[in-house]
């Protein structure tokens, strides 16, 4: 019943080849740092570069915007949709470049927060269900199914209509709609390791259950979870942008990539930058984070530095 059966390729696999018992390794090195192992993969490298680039842009953008373009994100640079400045003006005659620079931070922040919220709730639920098994599992998973069956967008629309399009509402609603999906993945991954003997060993030593979840199980399901996190971040960004598109997400005059697409798409044929820049940024960010997530998943699955 798992959504994505990306199995945790834990190294409890076949015996490592070539090493025999009688041949202890020379250096007792600690395993290479995770980041190093990610960087060592081609995909990881691309992922890190893309992600860091966009994150840096989003973080520094709001400060740099007025310096680089000469206009603050809400100042007027000319009439709407005119080719003034590097990337022209937007639907209100503001500098597209300036708004683009300033427009990534909130989107990034909200989608990361929503993803983190979904991950935390989903992991806790999924891991408890997978670990406890039996009745607890059935009850949690049925509840999960109910939340899953409840249409996401209806939930978002209702919440926004009732509570208003505040940042925390967006984060909470999107985070909570992620949670059941992440819970499924976390549960499936937990089931994959819960019968490992090291978990039994911990039970044997009467390690508290919370600590078993945190120390024995969690580190061993980070692979599928990080893939899932990448995917969920993509969805978060898409969801926030889509809500902005429907006029329910980020509110004007905030400079925001999702909102920019909506505000400027009408003039796609004459002033495409107002749409293209944010679309490209969103695409680069999501591609980057997904590459990174895949690379992290692969890196956590092995402790050695891969070539290639």
């Amino acid at each position: 019943m798992s959504t994505s059966d990306l199995k945790p390729s834990a190294d409890a696999g076949p015996p490592p080849s070539g090493t025999t018992d009688a041949e202890p390794k020379e250096s007792a090195t600690r395993p290479a740092h995770l980041l190093k192992r990610v960087w060592a993969q081609g995909q990881g490298k691309v992922g890190i570069v893309l992600t860091v680039f966009i994150v840096a842009l989003a973080l520094a953008g709001p400060l740099l915007a007025p310096v680089l373009t000469g206009y603050s994100p809400t100042e007027f640079a000319g009439r709407p949709f005119q080719p003034e400045g590097i990337f022209g003006t937007d639907n209100l005659g503001r500098s597209v470049a300036s708004r683009f620079l300033a427009g990534g931070l909130l989107l990034l922040l909200y989608s990361v927060l929503a993803t983190v919220l979904g991950l935390v709730v989903g992991c806790v639920v999924g891991m408890i269900a997978g670990y406890a098994g039996g009745k607890t599992d059935s009850v949690l998973m049925r509840l999960n199914d109910i939340v899953l069956a409840f249409p996401q967008l209806v939930l978002a629309l209702l919440a926004i209509v009732v509570l208003g399009p505040e940042g925390w509402v967006l984060v909470t609603v999107i985070g909570l709609t992620h949670a059941p999906r992440i819970a499924r993945v976390a549960r499936a991954a937990t089931l994959g390791v819960v019968n490992e003997d090291y978990v039994r060993a911990a039970q044997m030593y009467a390690v508290p259950r919370s600590r078993i979840l945190a120390r024995e199980i969690f580190p061993n399901i980070t692979g599928p979870l990080s893939v899932e996190a990448g995917l969920r971040l993509t969805y978060s960004i898409g969801a926030i942008a889509s809500l902005s598109f429907l006029g329910l997400g980020m509110q004007p005059p905030t400079a925001d990539w999702g909102l920019m697409i909506n505000e400027n798409r009408i003039a796609l044929s004459i002033q495409p930058w107002g749409v293209l820049l944010p679309v490209i940024a969103i695409a680069v960010l999501t591609v980057g984070t997904n590459l990174l997530a895949d690379a992290i998943a692969r890196a956590t699955a092995s402790t050695t530095v891969e070539s290639s």
Binding site: M1, S2, T3, S4, D5, L6, K7, R142, D145, I146, L148, A149, F150, P151, Q152, L153, V154, L155, L157, L158, V161, V162, L231, T234, I237, G238, A241, S242, F245, L246, G258, I261, R265, L268, S269, V275, V279, I282, A283, V284, L285, T286, V287, N290, L291
Partner: protein, 317 residues
Amino acid sequence: MIAKLILKRLLVSVFILLAVSVVVFAATLLLPGDPARAILGQQATEERIAALQAELNLDRSPVERYFLWLGGLFVGNFGTSSATGGPVTDLLGERITASLVLMLCAALIAVPVGLAIGIFSALHRGKRADQAVTWGTLTLAALPEFVIGIALVTLFATSVFRILPAVTMSPPGQQVWEIPTQLILPTLTLALVVIPYIIRMMRATMAEVMDSGFVEMARLKGVPERRVILRHAVPHAIGPVAQVVAIQLAWLAGGVVVVEYLFRYPGIGQALIDAVTYRDVQVVQAISIIIAAVYVVVNLLADIVGILANPKLRSAS
């Protein structure tokens, strides 16, 4: 045995639908505004509002109303729309069909194409073609659906090639699907949104299966590669992939909203946005239940496929 398993899944599905109906009902209670007042308008007198409230059962307790509503669902009565003042069924009937047509078209394209590309990619693992597919799916998955839609419209309808209609418009008395060219862009948009996930899943599952002992054994038996793939490998990927396909198809039920909005497609997505903005509670409830039902049914089908594709479950006694 197998019937029993399926029956069990069926019961769970019914239970989930019931639970969703409670949640939907409770959630819509939170919507501000009084449907009776909405139907009659701001200037209506108190007596008329009270009369209509009684007619719509609004004077009863929420629990009573829930059961009345639930009872109605079983006989196909979704209540009265506060926007039109008429039955919700009249309002939604054609829209549901329209949305289903759109989803079906998208599914009919996305599933076979996704599976085929996924298999192809898994068989060429690490090669150029596979990398191209990987990057393609990654990029496509990175774009929100409305971006894909806008791009397609710009490309095929308004700017580059002016060969396809940009929006759907049905002359009165005709259904949207009677003008097939109008379906192309919305269908394509939906298909492009779900295809990357199907490809990714199919590729991963197939790659895993191709690495399995029995596939290696089949090769060592001298079984031709075509047969290895079609007879030995693909049937194993069907079970797990069915789950992902189901989730993607269920997503379609909710995901049509944005696409319908973009293409002015007369489906339930449009009606949902209208209903939420105009606080048409009964319509919101009806659409939520319908989307949930689609989700549950599709998942049930996937479970059944999973059971049928797994001889262990099929023959366990």
